[in-house]
């Protein structure tokens, strides 16, 4: 069972992984899409009574033999551990991994296809595409000639570190690759899950309203960079860029901001310069 993904492991599908799908359904088998690699301890089947297992190994008459166990473990500990493995792997390969997060419809995939086609001439690029269903986005990326793999989260609302690990196995990217991880379109859940990326990049389009950083502060707090997209529409919508930046800095004083139009190409040079800067850091860290 996947410990970090609420949809259970079987819900997540990484393209290219071996599956047991058939052309017809078996409603009588394969109904357990998760493994139990742990046992379920139950009370003693023989009906024996075990006293003396209370706190301090004693039995106090009239009290149940319960005890208090100190745990102090982070709920996300396992995901964070896997994320650290991903981070080490990226570091070892000089890979800059960016986790792109946004609402659905912010133009994330358009920005990504544009970026991929502009930069693919000068560097190896790979994309991990997260969506609940379909390989449509990975197909869009692959149409640019860039290596992409789709991860379908099933009912899951975010990518987790294990999904990225599996996608990395399938992609097997070369040294110094620029890796984009396009998260599920969702401004809430992906904020909590470290994937091992160097930075989260939050994309917000001008059709969404400048108050979004206040409505979804967790995400803008977790992001290193906010990209304000669809700037070509600014003349037609009541979106105040300055207020949006001010709102974002209320939740995250250090957040960097870029304004682009993935459609017209306006502002993309600054985005590419930002990437180049971070790539140098990723490759220097490798040395």
């Amino acid at each position: 069972m996947c410990t970090v993904c609420g949809c259970t492991d079987g819900g997540a599908k990484v393209e290219g992984e071996h599956t047991h799908d058939h052309g017809h359904s078996h409603d009588h088998e394969h109904d357990h899409d998760h493994d139990h690699d742990h046992s379920h301890p139950h009370t003693d089947k023989k009906g024996d009574l075990h006293f003396g297992q209370g706190i301090g190994g004693v039995h106090v008459p009239g009290l149940s033999p319960s005890r208090i166990v100190q745990i102090e473990q982070d709920i996300l500990g396992k995901n964070d551990h896997l994320a650290q493995h991903n981070r080490d792997r990226f570091l070892g390969l000089g890979i800059l991994a960016l986790n792109l997060v946004s609402s659905p419809g912010s133009g994330k995939t358009t920005l990504l296809t544009r970026t991929a086609s502009d930069l693919a001439k000068s560097m190896p690029i790979a994309v991990i595409e997260g969506d609940q269903q379909t390989a449509l986005d990975a197909d869009r990326i692959r149409a640019t000639g860039v290596q992409a793999i789709q991860v379908n989260t099933g009912k899951g609302c975010h990518l987790d570190a294990d999904m990225v690990r599996r996608a990395m196995d399938a992609l097997d990217p070369e040294q110094n690759t620029l890796l984009f991880i396009e998260n599920v379109g969702n401004l809430v859940c992906p904020a909590a899950f470290d994937l091992g990326e160097a930075a989260k990049v939050a994309i917000l389009s001008v059709t969404e309203g400048e108050d979004k950083p206040l409505k979804y502060p967790d995400m803008f707090k977790a992001a290193t960079l906010m990209i304000i997209n669809k700037s070509d529409l600014l003349p037609y919508v009541p979106f105040d860029v300055a207020v949006c930046i001010e709102n974002a800095r209320r939740v995250n004083p250090d957040i960097e901001v870029l304004q682009v139009s993935a459609l017209s190409g306006d502002g993309l040079d600054a985005w590419y310069a930002w990437i180049a800067d971070w790539q140098l850091k990723a490759q220097d860290a490798d040395k």
């Binding site: 003693d44 005890r67 208090i68 102090e72 473990q73 975010h158």
Partner: protein, 113 residues
């Protein structure tokens, strides 16, 4: 609904600990959820009940300890109390705040048998 994933994470910890510390039934779980953490207590209660069905923690009571939010104000050069990520500094009304506490999500302790 990432609370479902988090509840699964809690259950995994309980199961691992059950094996390591030799218990077969969890009666109470004390969960520390910071005021500034990525989680809604009501949602995690709902999810906890759902994921613990037929498990070591079936019917377990969930006690949520809310740890208070705290941030370092760069302008005041001191730690101040905040209860949300969009709160200003209560002293100077500024926003140059860095969260220093209350963003934890942790299984604190268990009552088991």
């Amino acid at each position: 609904m990432h609370e479902m994933s988090l509840a699964e994470g809690v259950l995994q910890i309980l199961q691992d600990q059950g094996q390591a510390q030799n218990f077969s039934q969890v009666k109470t779980v004390w969960l520390e959820l910071g005021e500034l953490s990525h989680v809604d207590p009501d949602a995690i209660r709902f999810c906890f009940d759902a994921v613990t069905q037929d498990s070591i923690a079936q019917g377990a009571k969930l006690e949520i300890i809310r740890t208070p939010g705290a941030a370092w104000c760069h302008d005041c050069s001191k730690t101040v109390a905040v209860s949300s990520l969009i709160d200003p500094c209560p002293e100077c009304a500024g926003y140059k705040l860095q969260v220093t506490g209350g963003d934890d999500m942790r299984v604190h302790e268990l009552e088991v048998e």
